[in-house]
């Protein structure tokens, strides 16, 4: 599909400047919140007015756009600036639809992140925002892969970002997807419980068709929308067969999130791995959110470059050499994404 060159990431772990994944940073009050860095590449006047998702997205993207000229940018986000949306909604309510200031309305639009980066860098190229919840980032990657077939010499910025805010945390909690009882992220996979820990963050990549200087290659991806774990397993088996990598996955990076309702999908897909495949998980480190596959792709890139993952990620040890990684994530048991990544 394409080669991955530079990347940047904001998460609950130190991933933005000096990357350090050795010791797991503990969650606080059942939140796996992102550590926001000092944003050096974003104009201060604009930064001050931005909501959290916009800040994280633009900050992560601008770190790369400061060094690379791109022909377009593609962002995945399920909620955009949802805190700004609800802030504006509350103003509508509190001021009984009186005269309102437009800032939170304009910034809450889902496409504000890509739009803002286009504006700051005066980039007239392709500018897209994919918002299909747990497949928003996979659609970004597919869109980029198509663009690179249509325009083989181009380079694109791709990424995913979502925020936890007080209000959307409340919405997802009411829908029953988060743990009610206090739990630390270090214990996320222990026991038999319903719900997970919310996370947030952003990961961005510079991608093109050039092998020189690349750190990884996205070989293929597949999206599945189904609640049936047998169907998901069949689709994964077909995906492995199509790419001729059955029994050849060194690292299976999967999105288990401590919710016993979703475990069956991961068990079904693990059953397709060979005995020497290393199995690793990432949601204790990043939390659960719709565009976390972007962070999983970032982590796969890290594993390929460092040829190891810290122990807290590992579920089952196997192959010590990482050349080929399969990422599988599912969102609320409805949306499933597979991404096959190889070392360059």
């Amino acid at each position: 599909m394409f080669y991955i060159h530079q990347s940047s990431c904001i998460s609950h772990q130190p991933t933005f400047n000096d990357v350090d994944l050795e010791d797991l940073k503990p969650s606080e009050k059942n939140l796996v919140s992102a550590i926001e860095p000092k944003y050096e590449n974003v104009p201060l006047g604009q930064l001050r007015r931005m909501g959290r998702a916009l800040r994280m997205g633009v900050g992560t993207g601008m770190k790369l756009l400061g060094k690379h000229k791109v022909d377009g940018m593609l962002i995945g986000t399920a909620n955009g600036g949802i805190e700004d949306s609800i802030m504006f909604l509350n103003q509508i309510h509190d001021y009984e639809e009186g005269r309102l200031t437009p800032t939170s309305f304009v910034q809450s639009t889902y496409n504000a992140i890509a739009g803002m980066m286009g504006m700051i860098t005066v980039n007239h190229g392709y500018n897209a925002t994919h918002v299909h919840r747990g497949l928003a980032f996979e659609n970004v990657a597919l869109d980029a892969a198509m663009l690179l077939r249509e325009n083989p010499d181009n380079t694109y910025l791709i990424g995913g970002v979502d925020e936890i805010s007080e209000k959307n945390h409340r919405l997802v909690s009411l829908a029953g997807w988060y743990r009610n009882e206090p739990v630390s992220n270090a214990d996320l996979y222990k026991g038999d419980a319903t719900g997970t820990l919310p996370g947030e963050g952003a990961a961005m990549f510079i991608v093109n068709n050039k092998i020189e200087g690349a750190t990884a290659r996205l070989v293929d991806l597949k999206m599945v929308s189904s609640h049936n774990e047998n169907f998901v397993q069949q689709q994964l088996a077909a995906f492995l067969k199509k790419n001729n990598v059955e029994g050849k996955i060194d690292l299976f990076l999967q999105g288990e999130n401590g919710d016993n309702r979703l475990l069956k999908y991961y068990t079904a897909s693990e059953n397709l791995m060979s005995a020497d495949t290393t199995i690793a998980r990432f949601k204790h480190a990043f939390g659960e959110f719709q565009t976390v596959p972007a962070l999983a792709l970032w982590l796969s890139n890290y594993a390929l470059q460092n040829q190891k993952l810290p122990a807290h990620f590992i579920k089952r040890s196997g192959s010590a050499e990482f050349n080929r990684i399969l990422i599988y994530n599912n969102y609320q048991g409805a949306q499933h994404g597979f991404m096959l990544v190889e070392k360059v």
Binding site: I92, H93, R99, M119, H124, Y126, N127, H132, R170, L174
Partner: protein
Amino acid sequence: MSKIVVTGLGIISPIGNSVAENHTALKEGRNGLSQLELFPTRYATLLPFGEIKITNEDFKKQLGVTQSGVTRTTLLALHAFQQAVADSGLSDEQLRSDDTALANGNTIGGMCLSDELYMDANKNEVGSEYISSYNLGSVNMYIQQRYGINGVVNTFNTACSSSANAIAYGARLIRNGFARRAIVGGTDSLAKFTINGFNSLNILSGAPCKPFDAGRSGLNLGEGAAFLVLEREEDAQGKKIYAEVSGWANTNDAYHPSSLSDNGDGPYLAMKEALEVAKLNPEQIGFINAHGTATENNDEKEGIAMKRLFETVPAFASTKSNIGHTLGAAGAIEAVYCILNLLHQEVYQSLRFENAIETTGLTPVTVYQKKELQHVMSNSFGFGGNCSSLIFSKAN
């Protein structure tokens, strides 16, 4: 390279619940703008709106919706989706096949239920039935689950150009071999959220809008949905082929979060690149369904961009004078209107135009007329600088 053709159409708008009803209304130059009747807002009687006068309860009955948590944005989409699928004659097996893609663009999702969201986000101890329906993905989540669609499913958001990009995405999925057919479109329903949002920007007109008129005073918001079934020409043998989707482009104006640059760079590039994809010269475009929102900024800058690209600006009009600005649905609804232009070889009048904007001197089509058309263009521009153009060509 395979041609991408349109084999099914579905639409609901303030001027009709079907393709045929919309066609008649466009020919007659009917106005679909009125006072708001179906939900309370202080602007209901103060501003004109393109409202579809069917209640959610009636929609649910008509569409066989028995599940909870289905919002108006989804109901409008479902109405258009069902029409398009039936029109194209897609079977249940084809819908479930893993080479059938589904993509829509929308900007409001379940946030049309502004009051319910307010309660869920701030007050409720137990979530309402809409608790998982607020974000934009909810529309296609429902359609995908109801019909068991197994191919690529996506939701696009580039503000007011969302569904133009969903259509382009579908065409590109087919062309690149990631789908054999794609059901693509857009939807948006009127909402307190968007009414107050656009009002805070001072761009809502207190009177029915006047696209491209020197005295224009802003836009009117509307609601609606449209879907198109796209297939490869060789797979559409024996089917009615409405038109070819021949060009598309997505660019960014890179100037301001909510207004276009002085030279209309984004619109100019979108139209130019769409022509390149279609391998056409500017003079081959016979008609443009303009973005034409009737805001001070858009109509002037769009006109400037058209003049930059076209030596002689082709016939153009804005159907937003009939139905208002349907935001995320606009690109898809106007795609259907462009296809009607081609199919019937005619152009529809822009309503309420009186005097040309001084800086451009451009006059839209003001009377219905027959016109020989091979290629028509549709423009959609949105917040965040997102500009898109589509080109549709007459079926052979």
